[in-house]
């Protein structure tokens, strides 16, 4: 097993540390409010000569992603970081990065979108770009954020898709935790050198990228992109397997926690997965068969795997830290329900809980109330299909 160093780091520091060890060719960023310190810490590494990276301080997040696209198309290994409004401003360029199949890796701290103005955690920003063709990986804590960043480089370059690695704003980004840092040289070996296919700086093989693609080819290129997303599932799993073999921490498309024999389960992602696991432990001591499915990979969505993992659960609650404003349900709930729909034997007792918008605290008691609701469903009582957890009437 590779040597690790135990340190205390915030989520932001952990992600910046991973970026230092990855040592990308270019980082282009613009810290719009509410950005986090990730790129600021990284800029310090650049100034101190700890990395070889060209740091490009641009004039907006839109430009940040544009510069990343140019640098990635040129052939470099490219990273950036953003959050909330900044991610929203990048949205146009996110589609261009993924459509051009550029393996950019981005650290994204989940925070609410204005308006009303708010800088605290929810998943609205990341959910806003869920259809932008980027792989999206969520982290439960700073350790996962660090590990996910390192794996994301390999995933992106093997899938030829850009990857967003998220943490929950403040809860992970600004809180200090004990984490295990891998040795610099082991990270360097793990990420390896970028394998170059077509790239603009290759004077021996000129190419055109970003050409006009009218009705006779656009659809075919989108179909390729869809296939890349489907195939990325196996890449994510094989990179995780190699990572776990070297460094001991296991990852999948999602984490199942006490789910095998569970009657009721909560499906959710991000930092609240940890809270839900703690509540499940408490309930198990009282004889209630509670389980948790903590989603790690939201894009690609692990449809078949989730249907399989939930097939014997009697009542399921999907907790969404954002709402789609569709007068229906949150985005994670819709995806989970769609995953279950194709198999008529799948459970259909699914409740949706919208929680924690704009950084609203989610406490142990809140999660207990979710399991309590599931208990009532199992006893045959009817419950509201959607609950806005903790909202004052």
């Amino acid at each position: 097993m590779a040597k690790t160093n135990i340190v205390a780091r915030t989520g932001n520091e952990a992600m910046a540390e991973a970026m230092r060890q990855i040592n990308p060719d270019v980082v282009a960023a613009y810290p719009i409010t509410p950005a986090t310190e990730i790129v600021q810490i990284f800029a310090g590494y650049v100034a101190d000569g700890l990395v070889d990276t060209e740091f490009v301080p641009v004039e907006s997040e839109h430009s940040a992603m544009s510069a990343c696209i140019g640098a990635s198309a040129a052939g470099g290994r490219i990273m950036t970081g953003t959050s909330s409004q900044g991610l929203a401003l990048m949205a146009e360029m996110l589609y261009i990065a993924s459509g051009l199949r550029l393996p950019i890796v981005m650290a994204d701290v989940n925070r609410a979108l204005s308006s009303p103005i708010n800088i605290h955690c929810d998943h609205s920003d990341t959910m806003m770009v869920k259809d932008a063709g980027w792989i999206q990986i969520f982290s439960e804590n700073a350790q996962e954020a660090y590990d996910n960043m390192i794996q994301a480089v390999r995933i992106a370059e093997e899938a030829l898709l850009p990857v967003i690695v998220t943490t929950d704003g403040f809860i992970i980004s600004h809180c200090m935790e004990r984490i295990e840092i891998i040795d610099d040289k082991d990270v360097k070996n793990f990420v390896g050198e970028k394998k170059l296919g077509n790239y603009l700086l290759n004077v021996d093989k000129p190419i055109t990228i970003g050409a006009m693609d009218l009705p006779d080819y656009y659809f075919e290129h989108k179909r390729q992109h869809i296939e890349a997303m489907i195939e990325s599932k196996d890449i994510i799993l094989s990179v995780a397997k190699e990572f776990s073999g070297l460094f001991g921490r296991s990852y999948g498309l999602f984490e199942v926690y006490r789910l095998e024999d569970a009657d009721c389960a909560i499906v959710l992602m991000g930092s609240t997965v940890g809270t839900a696991k703690a509540v499940a432990d408490n309930l198990r001591e009282k004889g209630i068969k509670a389980g948790v499915l903590g989603l790690r990979v939201f894009r690609p969505f692990p449809k078949e795997e989730i249907a399989q993992a939930l097939k014997n659960i009697k009542a399921i609650a999907v907790m969404d830290r954002s709402d789609s404003m569709n007068a229906q349900e949150g985005p994670v709930c819709l995806e989970v329900k769609a995953s279950l729909f194709d198999d008529s034997a799948s459970p259909n007792n699914v409740l949706n809980y919208i929680y924690g918008l704009g950084g609203r605290e989610v406490r142990i008691e809140d999660i207990e109330s979710v399991y309590k609701g599931l208990g009532e469903v199992i006893k045959g009582k009817s419950k509201n299909k959607i609950t806005y957890l903790g909202v004052r009437e």
């Binding site: 055109t208 075919e220 290129h221």
Partner: protein, 99 residues
């Protein structure tokens, strides 16, 4: 014109990359023309106004004289015919419904 067989998604380069240099030349920009110019050589005085005005450099010159039009790139705008100073015009625009 024979229809080219277009590649399926599995055969295309990833991300719409076009391999090789100078490929814009292969892009035949004239295929959306609805009219085409025809040269009436007997009326032409070789003033070269059409050659100067053509926005797509589609007027073909041979030995210092106008020899016709390059229909791969001519977009059928009719500027050449409009600018031709000869009474009765040495260029005629005719309907073109090529595929």
């Amino acid at each position: 014109m024979a229809k080219e067989k277009k590649k399926g998604w599995k055969a295309l380069t990833k991300g719409g990359v076009i391999e090789g240099g100078g490929t814009a030349k292969e892009f035949k920009t004239g295929d959306w023309r609805s009219e085409r110019p025809i040269l009436l050589s007997e009326k032409c005085i070789n003033c070269l106004a059409c050659w100067m005005y053509c926005p797509d450099s589609a007027v073909i010159m041979k030995d210092g004289k106008v020899a016709g039009f390059d229909y791969d790139y001519c977009k059928g705008c009719g500027i050449c015919a409009h600018e031709c100073p000869v009474k009765g015009k040495a260029i005629k625009m005719i309907p073109d419904n090529h595929g």
